[in-house]
């Protein structure tokens, strides 16, 4: 406890959210449990810092239609309500099996601080479905008083009564998939709505009383010029959302777009044009008072997504539903991406009484993950935590490897009040734009070695 409060002191001035993160992190109970665990577990667990999840992701794979760029696990176009019911049955079974396993193992589970229902389009579900999910979760875990409960909702899939019902169930944040305000582009992307429906949806949600709305936009779409994108940004700003996600289109080979277009080749914007759109979004939104707190995410200061930060801080979280990934007990596991195989897997899970058959991530893997995820955030990685978890030598290698990037103006060093190097972060926007190249060079000089089974240097 003493150690963690000293952290808080050192980190406190950098970011208020970080303060929150560390102060809520080690509750006496979990610390005690961790000490108990340390007795009979390996050195690996001894040195890693893991707690029981306080976040959960639930995947709802149903969509009205599949967008042409989408490669998520999605069941599109079905109106068969029986299928919805069957899926929810299996989902509930999975939640029940998993949480009762944790309950048996750890007696008391910490309250959920974030719950994210994504998809797919979760808003195609009726509130009864949603209620059953929430009830099932509440049988095993409490919801923290300040919990963030997000549902992804697409324009045209809900009305005012559904929005109110959702809100009554405890949903307090909605992420709305707009992607663009240009009707031609929406059509080209195979979206099921137009810009008019976006405005309607927005009014409905505000009327229903939601005070934390997030809006998704996309850049780099085919035939999308900088002008069209700028227009979408301006229209989004005029709606005054609390949070904005701006994703740069990635062409996946398996999608219709992947078969039709080639990255960087007309009608897709060139590398330079796409970079300009990114810079435009970054500068315009920051000017408007949004914090560019992650590569693709912007939020008003008090409205940064708590749930997504769980991912980027490489903390554990539950995952339920087809294709969902969970990260519990140092096991990162992705569920089957097909309905049938997911149903089959849930049956197997019941037989195993909720235990995942999946190896724990090695310390090296965790360090790689922490670096990849942490550098997505404006606050970057905290070197103290990094050193504590993965050792002084690795930490030093990362610092050394980042020097050329600091010189070239792609990375930033964060110092504390005493002038000690405290953290590393990517510079916005130059560093964010070249995240892959930077990560590769950092990893090659630190955690990736030619023989990747061993650490380049022994852990202290």
């Amino acid at each position: 406890m003493k150690q963690s409060s000293s952290f808080v002191k050192r980190l406190g001035f950098i970011k208020p959210c970080l303060f929150k993160y560390f102060s809520t992190r080690h509750k006496p109970q979990t610390l005690f449990r961790r000490m108990m665990l340390c007795h009979n577990t390996s050195l690996l667990e001894n040195t890693t810092d893991w707690t029981l999840p306080k976040s959960a992701y639930i995947h709802i794979p149903f969509c009205v239609r599949k967008c042409l760029y989408c490669d998520f696990a999605v069941v599109a176009g079905t109106t068969n309500l029986n299928l919805y019911d069957t899926y929810i049955e299996h989902l509930l079974k999975e939640i029940e099996t998993t949480l009762s396993y944790f309950k048996r193992k750890y007696q008391k589970l910490p309250a959920l601080e974030t719950l994210y229902i994504g998809g797919g389009t979760p808003s195609v579900l009726s509130y009864i479905h949603l209620q059953r999910i929430v009830d099932k979760l509440q049988q095993y875990v409490d919801f923290a008083p300040t919990s963030e409960f997000t549902v992804e909702m697409d324009p045209g899939t809900f009305d005012l009564s559904k929005a109110r019902q959702f809100r009554n169930l405890g949903v307090n944040r909605v992420s709305i998939g707009v992607q663009s305000f240009d009707d031609n582009l929406l059509k080209l992307c195979g979206r099921s709505h137009n810009s008019k429906q976006v405005y309607m949806a927005w009014d409905i949600l505000r009327t229903a009383g939601f005070t934390n709305l997030s809006l998704d936009l996309m850049s780099g779409l085919p035939y999308q010029s900088e002008e069209i994108f700028r227009d979408s940004i301006e229209k989004a700003i005029s709606l005054d959302p609390e949070h904005l996600s701006c994703y740069d289109l990635i062409i996946e080979q398996s999608t219709p777009f992947g078969k039709k277009y080639q990255s960087g080749v007309f009608p897709l914007p060139s590398e330079d044009e796409a970079a300009c759109m990114y810079i435009l979004a970054s500068s315009r939104l920051r000017e408007q008072g949004y914090e560019h707190y992650e590569i693709s995410n912007y939020g008003k200061p008090a409205y940064l997504s708590k749930h997504n930060q769980t991912y980027w801080k490489n903390q554990s979280y539950y995952g339920f539903g087809m294709s969902a990934t969970s990260y519990t007990e140092m096991k990162r596991f992705t569920r089957p991406r097909k309905l049938v195989s997911y149903f089959e897997w849930v049956k197997q899970l019941e037989k195993r009484k909720g235990e995942l058959e999946c190896p724990q991530e090695s310390l090296r893997e965790q360090a790689v993950d922490t670096l990849i995820l942490g550098l997505r955030m404006k606050q970057g990685i905290s070197l103290n935590t990094f050193t504590k978890l993965y050792g002084q030598s690795i930490s030093q290698l990362v610092i050394d490897a980042s020097q050329p990037w600091i010189t070239s103006g792609h990375m930033l060093e964060i110092y504390n009040r005493n002038g000690q190097l405290e953290g590393l972060a990517l510079k916005d926007p130059e560093g964010f734009l070249l995240q892959n190249s930077i990560l590769i060079s950092l990893l090659e000089k630190s955690l990736w070695t030619t023989n990747s089974s061993t650490y380049p240097v022994t852990l202290s």
């Binding site: 990114y278 991912y311 979280y317 990260y327 990162r332 790689v368 964010f432 734009l433 190249s437 990893l443």
Partner: protein, 699 residues
């Protein structure tokens, strides 16, 4: 493994009785040794020979021949006798006593793709040399690469027994030869071992440049040539026209020329009759002192060097002391045999026969191709005239993309060299590429094949520099030197003049393509020598052409300008003075020695411009702006720049996506690993071959 370690441990316990050799493996380990006789698909007998203690070497055992079984104890299993009993019987027949009158030695010569190997297949089948079950297409092409590309690279020999319609038995020794122009030295080697040649001409394509070249080679060696029209089953076959061509261009009588189809087997049996009828038997010179000409050799890990030879005078027997006349070394002939086409040991080979010899020869250098075998106690007066050594024409640098693989590359080249004497190499180092080898090849195909074998058979990841030729440099101080690597060219002020190699090039083409081909040849600095209208529709063009212009992609261009109808042939013709300069390329201000080339002054500017443009496309954008300059000395003659990288793939990264993201990063990193770092710039391997691809786009 040195041949000292080779020992005979016994004979095959089935009928072939051939001695079994073994090599050594791990140090001082004792393992039981078995010989397994393998007949057909069934394991017939496994014979325990006794425990054996390995000696000092730690050579690896090639798994195809020797098997360390994974059972309870390590044991060495030698496989032998992999043939059916019936084929052994056939081989026994093959070893019966014969007189030179019954022997016919011949080879098949043809332009590439005219059907040599297919005809060889049919002949082997007709004479029951290979059972139908073992038969596969291109039987004699044993290398994977040969089969895949449908070309013959190494010459191959096969002995066939033939009962002629007149009731006499004959021994036919066939030597299959490569058709590609790069390997014509292999052809010349096999010709010396024969008395006759079957000239295969495609009945639709007619006489091609390589046909002529091979005919000239064959008639120089005094061979009887039997023309045969192949592929007459094709609808496009025009036997009459082609016969006319043969008469006019080669001057062979075609009145009773055979029209065959090796694919369908039509008239192939007549070929055998013609061989017996028209090809003279070897002269009986068995009473003379032994003289046998080595025409091929290869290194076998278990038996040392195996040489293929043709006996001209005298008799070669197993167990005799032999002497190699040029290298003046004596060996004991351990095994003498014939190639049927598997090796079958015999007691003796008489004058006129073709066979193989195992004599515990340690290195290929001791038994060079072209050397003469004689008896140590009764040597011949003088050696047979040998061969001109194959001269490497094209050079390029081979560098491992991973510096740790340098030793592996050296080892692999050593091994390839054992069986490919025309390959030459010497270590060199480059500031851009690190340590590697400068290798000499017979031509571009040869280079391509060697590189492919290195990467395929030895798992090496290589960077090859663009090919160059050897230049003579004359300095102001009257000294001269031969350079094979353009980087070695001294500073311009020291150089008086340069000489570059020329070839005499002959192109045979349908008349309508003469214009485009002349244009092409002129643009490649060709000097016109001669033009002949061979028939009404076909023309032969003769040019003197700098070899450097030929080695890039000249052949492809000849093909494309003539829609595939023209064929070409070239011969070394000597060195000529040329106005040449060293063109260097600087990437981000650093000269890249691997991209250095010697070009003609008139072309330097256009090449430099095209090269820098090409490099701009090939070198991926990096975090900073990279200037790419083409230079002569210190003068920049062309300049481009690669703009800085703006953006990576900005995947959104939910929790589940981290493994995908990691894969993406790994993949991107792998791609980077395949590049060479020139200063701060990562340059992909293709860039080092930019000159090649450049020439392709230029024309």
């Amino acid at each position: 493994m040195a041949a000292d370690d080779l020992q005979s441990v016994g004979k095959c316990c089935l009928r072939c009785k051939r001695p079994i050799f073994y090599g050594t493996c791990a140090k001082n380990t004792s393992v039981p040794l078995y010989i397994v006789n393998y007949t057909g698909w069934l394991l017939k007998r496994k014979e325990f020979i006794g425990n054996h203690r390995w000696q000092n070497t730690n050579d690896r055992l090639p798994s195809s021949r020797l098997h360390l079984s994974s059972s309870f104890r390590p044991s060495l299993v030698v496989w032998c006798c992999m043939r059916e009993d019936s084929s052994i019987k056939r081989e026994e027949q093959a070893t019966k006593m014969i007189s030179p009158q019954q022997i016919r030695n011949f080879c098949i010569i043809a332009h590439i793709d005219h059907g040599k190997s297919t005809l060889a297949d049919r002949l082997l089948q007709l004479t029951n040399t290979v059972s139908n079950r073992d038969m596969k297409d291109q039987f004699l092409d044993s290398m994977d690469l040969e089969r895949e590309r449908g070309i013959t690279i190494k010459l191959q020999t096969a002995r066939m027994n033939y009962r002629a319609p007149d009731g006499n038995e004959y021994i036919l020794n066939l030597i299959d030869t490569p058709g590609h122009v790069d390997f014509s030295y292999e052809v010349s080697r096999s010709l010396v071992a024969c008395e006759g040649a079957i000239l295969v001409v495609d009945a639709s394509q007619g006489v091609e440049a390589q046909t002529l070249a091979n005919v000239y080679l064959a008639s120089e060696s005094g061979l009887e040539i039997i023309p045969v029209l192949n592929k007459v089953d094709l609808p496009s076959a025009e036997p009459l026209r082609v016969k006319q061509e043969i008469e006019q261009m080669i001057g062979l009588d075609t009145s009773n020329c055979l029209e065959i189809s090796a694919k369908t087997g039509k008239n192939v049996e007549k070929v055998l009759e013609y061989i017996v009828k028209y090809i003279p038997p070897p002269k009986d010179r068995s009473s003379f002192p032994l003289r046998a000409l080595i025409f091929d050799s290869y290194y076998d890990a278990f038996r040392g060097v195996v040489v293929y030879f043709r006996v001209f005078d005298g008799i070669l027997e197993t167990g005799k002391k032999i002497r190699l006349m040029n290298s003046q070394k004596d060996f004991e002939s351990v095994q003498v045999g014939v190639l049927a086409p598997h090796q079958v040991p015999v007691e003796r080979l008489i004058s006129g026969e073709v066979g193989y010899l195992v004599a515990g020869i340690k290195t290929v250098q001791d038994a060079r191709v072209g050397d003469t075998i004689t008896l140590a106690h009764q040597p011949a007066d003088c050696a047979l005239p040998g061969y001109k050594e194959a001269k490497p024409m094209v050079f390029c640098g081979l560098y491992p993309s991973d510096a740790d693989q340098f030793e592996d590359l050296r080892e692999a080249l050593e091994k390839l060299k054992l069986n490919d004497s025309s390959l030459s190499y010497e270590p060199e180092s480059s500031s851009a590429m690190g340590f590697g080898f400068r290798c000499g090849f017979l031509g571009l195909l040869h280079m391509e094949i060697v590189c492919e074998r290195l990467s395929r058979e030895y798992g090496l990841d290589l960077v090859t520099t663009s090919p160059s030729v050897g230049y003579y440099v004359y300095l102001h101080d009257n000294s001269s030197m031969l350079i094979q690597n353009p980087c070695e060219l001294p500073e311009p002020h020291l150089v008086d003049y340069l000489e570059e190699p020329y070839v005499r090039l002959e192109i045979i083409t349908p008349t309508e393509y003469v214009g485009p081909l002349m244009e092409l040849t002129q643009s490649r600095r060709g000097i016109f020598q001669d033009m002949k209208y061979i028939t009404a529709t076909r023309t032969s063009l003769v040019y003197e052409l700098p070899l450097a212009e030929l080695v890039t992609n000249f052949f492809d261009l000849v093909k494309s300008r003539s829609r595939g109808y023209a064929s070409m042939e070239y011969q070394w013709s000597g060195y000529r003075r040329g106005d040449l300069v060293k063109l260097e390329v600087a990437v981000n201000g650093e000269k890249v020695d691997a991209l250095c080339s010697i070009v003609h002054r008139d072309k330097a500017y256009s090449i430099a411009r095209a090269l820098t443009e090409r490099l701009k496309e090939l070198i991926p954008r990096q975090q900073f702006r990279i200037p790419v300059q083409g230079m002569i000395g210190n003068r920049v003659i062309a300049s481009e720049h690669i703009p800085a990288l703006r953006k990576d793939v900005l995947a959104k990264c939910y929790g589940g996506d981290i493994s995908r993201k990691k894969k993406l990063l790994k993949k991107q990193a792998e791609g980077k690993k395949r590049m060479k770092a020139i200063g701060k710039v990562d340059v992909p391997q293709e860039a080092f071959r930019a000159m090649l691809s450049l020439k392709q786009t230029e024309d």
